[in-house]
Amino acid sequence: MKPELLDPIEWETIIEAIDKEFGIGVTKKLLGKLTPMALVHGNWRNIYLIPTSWMDMLFEEAPSGFDYHLVGKQLGVMTQDRFRLSLQILPDLVKLTTKVLIVSKQGAESFTYGRSILKQSVLYMDFNLKRGQRVLVMDEDHFCLGIAALSMDASRLGRLGKDKLVGKNLVDIGWFIRRLG
């Protein structure tokens, strides 16, 4: 994969995508003193955050016979016009956002098997969250298990039956195991 610097427009798109879901200024805090860059593979642009001291080394072509596959901290993947966060960044993101959904032990287990979240598993969710909102799914000990998209306004939670869908699983840490088999 070829290393590339991000152009300001692409970086703005990413900032917008993250901040819109998780709060204004969140992306800047995730970035800290690091620099964003991309490893490009066809239409996929894997976005990484790297120390500036690595720049000289990386922005030359990969040495002959070698191909970059991962560099530094993975922020996410840009595919065509959509940005998806990496599982690696979620523990950092948890500290910066209130867009969270806390689930029971049973709900946590089910979520890490790739399932979505039902009303009966929800322990806490901000009353103001709206349908379509991306939320970080956390267990009772506040460890982040992945991301879900709300399928209803949080204010309607009390009126839902216990077996009704609350959040659709977008990505979860069980992926690490499912991917490797």
Partner: protein, 326 residues
Amino acid sequence: MSTKELRQKAKTLAKEHEYQQYMIERYLALWGEEDTLRFLEACEQPIRTSIRMNTLRMESEKTVERLQKKRIELEKIPWLSNGYYADFEGHSTPGAFLEHMLGFYYVQGVPSMTTVEVLDPQPDETILDLAAAPGGKTTHIAQQMHNSGIVVAVEMDRRRISSLESNILRCGVTNAIVLRGDAKKVERLNLEPDRILLDAPCSGEGLIPLDPTRKTSKSMADVRFCATKEDELLDAAVTVLAPGGTIVYATCSIAPEENEYIVDEILKRHPDMKIVPIPLDFGTPGYSEPFGVSLDESLKLSKRFLPHLHGTEGFFICKMIKEGKA
């Protein structure tokens, strides 16, 4: 034992234990009959599962506490800072636990963990990890460095790179660069690493307790083929190592041809390389006269894990430094 007697004995044991005869002949020549029998018996016993607590994600003590609450029996491995024997009996696989998915621990063999402790990576250094997949050692190196400096992980196999990447992400490693390519060509990277870990692809003769098919799957020609590759890899690695730098050469083979013989050749070809003692209390010394062949005396400073002596898979670890100032 005469050669004829040795061959006859090897033939009988090979048939009885379902090994290739050449393997038993070599064990008898290396260790004698008593230890060979102990080795064969040990290879039938399961290896204890071990895990490394990943302090990049969670303090070791807290992971221990969480696992013990789930009735996982843990026993600290004396010479390892974050290594534990873990008894998951009665549970699903160690990889299915939430703590594993969260990257709090890594399921890793004792010799593999030991290899990184022997390398002793320091914060802010540049470290090269050759033949790095599936990433147990890469993530361990990053852990020892507290995610500072750089770990350059090189792996040739495209499919194995997926598991390397996955483990790096899961374990919260942020100081790694993963490159796909031939480790024999590392000079093209223009790096002068402070430390290099080469856990070389090998014949896997030490893995018989984990993979019984290894009793019959490889010939002596395979061992020689692996030895040629290992020699090329180690030669390439020591060439790029910074003066004053450290290299650890390891294999999961018990064959001296893939271990002591390789290092001996490197010492002859690179007079600036020296074997240094390993200041950790584990294993038994490497061989300086395997099969009656005189090798460099300092090979006794290298270490071996053997199933019948240490209850682990067979492994070889040798630590060397390149003379000169860093």
